[in-house]
Symmetry: C2
Subunit: 359 residues, 2 copies
DNA sequence: TTACAAAATGACCAACGCTGTCATTGTTTG
DNA sequence: CAAACAATGACAGCGTTGGTCATTTTGTAA
């Protein structure tokens, strides 16, 4: 019932050392031998004993995922991607929910890594944006991959998976622009999250490119919550001059804005267009469903994990995957919360949109 | 840097075997020795190496959590509770998202358990309600704990943690009743989930106890989704004789109902009261926030894990915890979506509520 | 074809940190 | 004082990796 390396060796007619070599992708194994061994492995459905490997080997076969994020959907999606990558590569995933704001957080992470003998760590916001964590990890020489907001790969960001919030926001804004909107408001997320800043920048860049001067009153600060969306939209709709579209920094904010609009008897999308960001289940549970940007969290997580595995592999065992820095651009997902601008002629915003700059 | 059992033994002046005995709560260790060893353990901050334990011992130090649930909040909460229990007891948690409806699901679970050498499994719906899973697990002799809907402990349910949906629903309904409502509708969740049936039963029992005959038209089938709530409420509000309160089987349905009411220009809670169930973050993100039943998922999960650990401990190593079958009753959480019945006098439902039967 | 270098494989053993088994030593108790 | 039992220790072994060499096979140039 329990298949060990000895069984495989016997069946393949080789020594256990050779099986071990195969299992660890060591060089200097003849193609023919490799095939024989792999066949035996497959036939017996051999899975190396993780405990024994950990004990005997110098390498580690588990990575960690630390999280502190109120968005359960985000966490679950990330986790799913990490788990998939781990299964594929024979790693285990250690999950560690914690409080990013606790005083001893750096120490906690260090202890976790050392005690669990982790091969590496996948860091998502807010951890990926905490320099003290990165420093501490570098100091003790533990690999880690950060998932952060950014558009341009750079040498400083070698161990990062980038999510190009800027470009995605640019595209979403273009969608609104193409519908004829020019008075577009922006509901920000938490200031501390760089994603909010990136999205705002992309939004403003799109406007600028069309020669539209963004109304500063239309950029309202807030946080990544439903409440914030309710408040923000209420504020905007109370303005003498209303926007005809709202770019909410994420789906929750958008849902809140939707709610507020409903309260004020503003019809969506005929009177007001609203877009979200993230394509969380949330965005499908509103009415109308939200136009949003699809952020493939599971895939992003998978890539991050793969990057980690690549690093973790000792020299000489490298797979010849083309080394590169992944950049994800969330894609525009048009649903029913956006429509043609009701009366673009009446817009009071200064504009000079002569050239139609499509990408 | 790495503290092993040898270091502890040296410091305490005993053999490593004795340290092992202490770590495993084995009997026949003199009090004085025990104290010495414990002091050494504390001083060195010794943590046994999980890999070595797994390799050497016959016991396993990890449990599994299989899930397939669209409700990310539920999963995250459960996971949190399991993780906490595991940390406290020195276990590891293996997480396995999968598809409950896939054909080979039983086989998949078996393989998971055998390959990962799991000490046991924590099963939540839908797995906890699949007899074939329980049978297969029993057949191969693997411990498991099920979290299921139910109110009465029974010998058949020794390895279950019960969530008393019936009583919770009864209480919620009473809340509505005390506010003067008698025309109360019920929006069901998925038929396959026993929780939906239990909640409906509790609802009906509460009505019956007050001598109120439930209007069959007010019980509308559906599923645990926002969409279903939208539809269900729309249907109810279209009825010639409207209910003055709606009991939604969970918060999502309630949110949908809220949405529908808003569309029909029915004010919540002055014209219509709505209650949800679960106290998911969802219920705080609606407006007004939902009156609901607080289901302490993390705590439930913790208890389930503890139960599993207790079983997993070999005879003679039993902790003298009083063996019992935990039953959780979600507590009523009154927020702003419920209010006094607008015009109870006009109610058309047959009633005979003379005695005020409070519990 | 031979000779020789290089590549591929195997045999062996010591870890890794812990638990299980069984033998041994202490400590009571009648 | 010996039997009886409690407390402790010695030692093997869990399944694998990482060495070190020895041996075999293969490839290559003469």
């Amino acid at each position: 019932m329990k298949v060990t390396i000895n069984d495989v060796a016997d069946l393949a007619g080789v020594s256990i050392k050779t099986v071990s070599r195969v299992m660890n992708n060591e060089p200097s194994v003849k193609k023919a031998t490799l095939d024989k061994v792999n066949a035996a492995i497959a036939e017996l459905n051999y899975q190396p004993n993780a405990a024994a490997r950990n004990l005997a080997g110098t390498r580690s076969y588990s990575i960690g995922y630390i999280y502190d994020n109120p968005n359960a959907y985000y966490v679950i999606d990330m986790q799913r991607g990490l788990l998939d990558a781990c299964r594929k590569n024979g790693y285990e995933l250690l999950i560690h929910p914690t409080n990013a704001k606790s005083a001893g957080i750096v120490q906690e992470v260090i202890e976790l890594v050392q005690h669990a003998r982790l091969a590496g760590l996948v860091l998502t916001p807010p951890f990926s944006e905490m320099p003290e964590i990165a420093e501490a990890l570098e100091k003790i020489g533990v690999d880690f991959v950060r998932i952060i907001s950014g558009s341009t790969p750079s040498p400083k960001l070698t161990n990062c998976v980038l999510v190009d919030d800027f470009t995605a926001a640019f595209k979403i804004t273009n969608h609104l622009l193409e519908l004829g909107h020019t008075d577009i408001a922006f509901l920000c997320g938490d200031e501390e999250h760089s994603s909010s800043g990136e999205r705002l920048a992309g939004f403003q860049a799109a406007l600028t490119k069309r020669g539209i001067h963004a109304n500063p009153k239309f950029v309202v600060p807030g946080s990544y919550s439903f409440e914030s969306g309710v408040k923000g939209a209420k504020h905007l709709l109370g303005l003498g001059q209303r926007p005809t579209a709202i770019f909410a920094c994420n789906d929750e904010i958008a849902a809140g804005a939707l709610f507020s609009a409903r309260l004020s008897n503003v019809d969506i999308p005929t009177e007001l267009s609203i877009v979200g960001f993230e394509n969380s289940p949330f965005s499908r549970q509103t009415w109308p469903p939200l136009t949003t940007a699809n952020q493939p969290n599971s895939t992003i997580a998978m890539q991050a994990a793969e990057l980690l595995f690549k690093h973790a592999r000792p020299a000489g065992h490298q797979l010849n995957t083309t080394e590169q820095q992944p950049v994800f651009i969330p894609e525009l997902l048009v649903r029913e919360s956006t429509a043609i601008c009701p009366n673009p002629a009446l817009s009071t915003t200064q504009k000079s949109a002569q050239k139609n700059t499509r990408s």
